[in-house]
């Protein structure tokens, strides 16, 4: 699974992207992936400390906490968008 980080999530984690292989029986959706990633490092923990500030996309589509994730997916985490 390819995981991407943007804006201040990227800065707190110190990575723009990483490969992750969460156990499929434990991580089934976006919310589960966040819990699993948050345990990876202090930076991850800081980035996901306030889940209400975090948005996600699965395979380049905006996602919600219950959006399924599976091996091979591209999952991105970022703050609410501020373009325009």
């Amino acid at each position: 699974m390819r995981v991407l980080y943007f804006a201040w999530l990227r800065q707190k984690i110190g990575l723009a992207e990483e490969e992750a292989a969460p156990p499929p029986d434990e991580v089934r959706d976006v919310a589960g992936l966040i819990r699993w990633l948050a345990a990876r490092s202090p930076g991850h923990a800081a980035a996901f400390a306030e889940p209400r500030l975090v948005r996600a996309a699965v395979n380049q589509e905006f996602a919600t906490p219950d959006t399924p994730v599976a091996p091979g997916d591209e999952v991105a985490f970022f703050p609410p968008v501020t373009g325009g």
Binding site: F77, P80, T82
Partner: protein, 173 residues
């Protein structure tokens, strides 16, 4: 078919406008919105980051939504990324139609949806070297919400599940 571009370069407002009317005589109205970088609080530059694999698709979907809602003869969305200086343009939305209501309304719609449904993030750089990520505004969310939910069908082959695109909910509760 809308024109959608993401680029670092400046764009040419007159050329983009002319492209919407060139060679046709059914265009009665062209509306535009230009978002410009302000220098609030001593801002020195705005750095725009985006999610390249997703951005153009998101813009194309937003433009398709406008075309589904209004009878447009043309539609152009150009969003800049990278380092943008005060006074420079950030985004251009252009809509053309036979009548003015369709052009004006769809232009307002496009910038409202773009602000809440396209993967861009602004980081402000100040003269003293500090940086600050711009926070999303509740009134941008409200402005987008007044247009209701997506009505256009997703384009064929545009990602498997027919999940509706939205930005309102956090990724985790």
């Amino acid at each position: 078919m809308a024109t959608v571009r993401v680029q670092e370069a400046l764009f040419d407002l007159a050329a983009e406008t002319a492209a919407l009317t060139a060679g046709r005589t059914d265009v009665g109205a062209v509306a535009s919105f230009l978002g410009v970088c302000r220098a609030d609080d001593g801002l020195a530059a705005m750095v725009l980051e985006h999610y390249p694999a997703m951005t153009e698709r998101a813009l194309r979907r937003i433009a398709a939504e406008a075309e589904a809602r209004w009878p447009l003869t043309g539609c152009t969305v150009i969003h800049r990324v990278g380092r943008i200086l005060p006074g420079e343009p950030i985004v251009l939305v252009l809509t053309a139609s036979t009548h003015r209501a369709a052009a004006l309304e769809s232009c307002a719609f496009l910038i409202d949806w773009l602000k809440t449904r396209a993967p861009f993030w602004k980081c402000e750089e100040f003269a003293d070297g500090t940086r600050r990520w711009v926070e999303a505004r509740a009134d941008d969310e409200a402005a987008a919400a007044r247009w209701g939910e997506q009505v256009a069908a997703d384009a064929p082959g545009e990602g498997a599940p027919a999940r509706r695109q939205r930005e309102a909910e956090p990724a985790a509760e």
